[in-house]
Each structure stands twice: as structure tokens, then as C-alpha cells.
């Protein structure tokens, strides 16, 4: 029964992760700690394997022309990974409260910018497409700067950072939303791989928890890829804004000790 519950939890995380380009860790860690009473390190270790499973599931069945923009992902990942390493090293120096408030401000700013873009888009005559070829990327310096911040936040706070990467690629750099989510899924897999072996070596990877969860996540991610083209961009964008607001409030509450 517990295995089935873990499988279903993983499936929900996989679907949402594939739809929003997040990897699903944001949902898995709270679910595993609050619903299953697991220690936080076990939850994070399980979540990291789950993020890799989401990334794998999306990559395995993405239709031609709907996969990640690999050159874009790798260019952004150079600074994201460097930021993650720097963040990991800095984590013992900067207070968690300061970091949480900083994190919340970044998240609220991103949500506000997305909302502004959504309102502008709503006035346009043509509906927005999830995927299209020959898009032109711009604002590279701003995109890379925010990506390195996302990496630093990942290293400092132990989250994947996909919820920053998608808005960066979509709202700042001008990638189509479908491309941004697929590329983010590719990137969060790399980021998770950088830290999963640390948790493995510490003994925080427990197969009886990880395996049902990973199986659910993988299946859920494949289902997410299947339903993604059938959803309207506006719905996905609304989900992303809602998620950012929830995350921002959580981080603000943590930072202000509320």
C-alpha cells in the first residue's frame, strides 16, 4: 500500500514536472516529508533521483522538434553549474533567513514579469504557440546572470531551480514556452546528477522509497509529455505563475520566521 502511495505521489510530481519544466522536486520533498514522515535528507535524496527520472522520461519520448534546445541548455548550464558550486561553498557563510528572503524576491519578480507578459500577450490577436522553429534568443547577458543566480540558489537552498530557468528562457530570452520547459527538464537532470552521488555516499538513498517513487515519476513524466501539446499555453503559464507565488510565500515565511 505504501509502495502504491509512493508510486502515485511520484506520478503526480512527474506530470507536473514535465508540464512546467521543473523536475518535480518542489512537490516531492514536501510530499515525502509531510505525507510519509521521511527525514528531510532521505526526501531530498529521493527527490534528486526523481528529478533525473523526470528528465529521462521527458527526453525518452519527446517528439521530434519538441526536445530540449541542447546548445542553449549547455550554455546556460555553464554558469548555472558554476553558481551551484559557488552556492554550495557559500552555504555555510550566508544565513538561511537572508537567502530565503532573497530567493522570495527573485521568485516574486519573475512571477510579476510573467504576469505582465501574459497581459500584453492577451491583447494580441494571434494565439501563442508552444513550439516553433527559428526563434531568436536575446538578452543573453541577463539570461546568463539570472541562470547563475538560479544555480547559486540551487546550491544554497537545495532546490532544482527549474522554476527560475523556465521564466528566464521564456520571458527574458524569448524561447517558446514548450522549448523552455523541455530545455529546463534537460538542465535540472544535469544539476541533480551533480549532487545525487553526495546523498548516495551519505546513505540517504533508500531503494524501498526511491524505486516506487522513481517508477511513478518516470511514468508521470511520459504522460506529461503526451498531454503537454494538448494544453493551452495560457493554462501552463497560469500554473507557473501560481506555483511561483506559492513558492515565494513559502520562502518569505521561512526567511521572516513566520
Amino acid at each position: 500500500m505504501i509502495a502504491v502511495a509512493l508510486l502515485l505521489t511520484g506520478a503526480v510530481a512527474g506530470i507536473l514536472g514535465a508540464l512546467l519544466g521543473l523536475g518535480g522536486g518542489i512537490f516531492l520533498v514536501p510530499a515525502l516529508t509531510l505525507l510519509f514522515g521521511l527525514p528531510i535528507h532521505v526526501a531530498i535524496g529521493t527527490s534528486l533521483v526523481g528529478v533525473i527520472a523526470t528528465s529521462a522520461g521527458v527526453a525518452a519520448i519527446a517528439p521530434r522538434g519538441r526536445g530540449a534546445d541542447v546548445p542553449l541548455a549547455l550554455r546556460l548550464e555553464v554558469l548555472t553549474a558554476a553558481g551551484a558550486i559557488a552556492g554550495g561553498l557559500l552555504s555555510g557563510v550566508v544565513s538561511a533567513q537572508v537567502l530565503s528572503v532573497l530567493f522570495a524576491l527573485v521568485v516574486f519578480g519573475t512571477a510579476g514579469y510573467l504576469f505582465y507578459k501574459a497581459r500584453r500577450r492577451a491583447r494580441a490577436d494571434t494565439p501563442e504557440r508552444l513550439f516553433y522553429a527559428n526563434y531568436r534568443l536575446h538578452h543573453w547577458p541577463a539570461g546568463m546572470a539570472v541562470s547563475s543566480l538560479a544555480g547559486m540558489v540551487s546550491g544554497l537552498l537545495g532546490v532544482g531551480g527549474g522554476f527560475i530557468k523556465v521564466p528566464v528562457m521564456y520571458a527574458i530570452m524569448g524561447a517558446p514556452l514548450g522549448v523552455a520547459t523541455a530545455t529546463s527538464n534537460f538542465m535540472v537532470g544535469i544539476t541533480a546528477a551533480a549532487s545525487v552521488f553526495v546523498y548516495y555516499g551519505r546513505g540517504d538513498i533508500h531503494p524501498l522509497v526511491v524505486i516506487p517513487t522513481a517508477l511513478g515519476v518516470f511514468g508521470g513524466a511520459m504522460l506529461g509529455v503526451y498531454i503537454l501539446p494538448r494544453l493551452r499555453v495560457a493554462w501552463i503559464r497560469l500554473g507557473l505563475i501560481g506555483l511561483l507565488v506559492i513558492m515565494g510565500l513559502q520562502m518569505l515565511a521561512r526567511g521572516l520566521n513566520l
Binding site: 546548445p71 558550486i85 522513481a214
Partner: protein
């Protein structure tokens, strides 16, 4: 003839599917074996085995299979970066090659710092 990006996308999909299925198969087999041998399902249960211990062969088959599956799945993103690297070498895309190499080195550095 396929463009390098199309070729990369095809190979990434094939490798991702193959490694995922093998690793999930190993995990599923291991889980079934452990449960058939009467393991308790109380959480969090036993920890995965170190890859170094896996080499010795003196461990239960189910636990070894589960641990190997988890390690294999965890290596997939690194394999994908290596795949991009090899394709950029073949197609002589120097800037992309340099970027992929940097990411690969950073992954190695972060793993080294982590351990």
C-alpha cells in the same frame, strides 16, 4: 543527411529510453526479489549500496540490482552531456564543444567537492 542537432536529438532520445528502461528494469527486478524474500516494507528501509561494494558480489541479488539501477539512472544526465560532446567533436562545432566540455568539467568538479 541529418543536421547535427537532429542527430543529437535522435541519439539523446534513444539513449535516454534505453538507459531508463534498463535501470528501471533492474530496479523493478530488485524490488520484486527483495519483497519475495520477505523484506519489510517499513520506510525508509535499507540504504542503497555503495558502487564499490557492488563489485564484490557478496551481497543479496535484489539489493545489488536495485542499487545498480539507481546508479545507472543517476549517470544518465552525464552520459547525455558526453553524447553532446562527442557529436560536437564530430561536427567540429568548436563553440558548442567548448561549452559542453566546460559543463562536463564542472560536473566532475562538483562531484569531487561533494565527495
Amino acid at each position: 543527411m541529418q543536421e547535427p542537432e537532429d542527430d543529437l536529438e535522435t541519439k539523446m532520445r534513444t539513449i535516454s529510453l534505453a538507459i531508463s528502461l534498463i535501470s528501471l528494469g533492474l530496479m523493478g527486478f530488485g524490488l520484486a526479489d527483495v519483497l519475495l524474500h520477505g523484506a519489510s516494507l517499513s520506510l525508509p528501509g535499507m540504504a542503497a549500496l555503495s558502487p564499490l561494494i557492488l563489485k564484490t558480489g557478496q551481497i543479496p541479488l535484489g539489493l545489488a540490482a536495485m542499487s545498480a539501477g539507481i546508479v545507472l539512472l543517476s549517470l544518465l544526465p552525464i552520459v547525455r552531456v558526453l553524447l553532446a560532446l562527442s557529436l560536437y567533436v564530430q561536427s567540429r562545432q568548436l563553440l558548442n564543444l567548448l561549452v559542453a566540455l566546460l559543463v562536463f568539467i564542472e560536473l566532475l568538479v562538483s562531484a569531487r567537492i561533494g565527495t
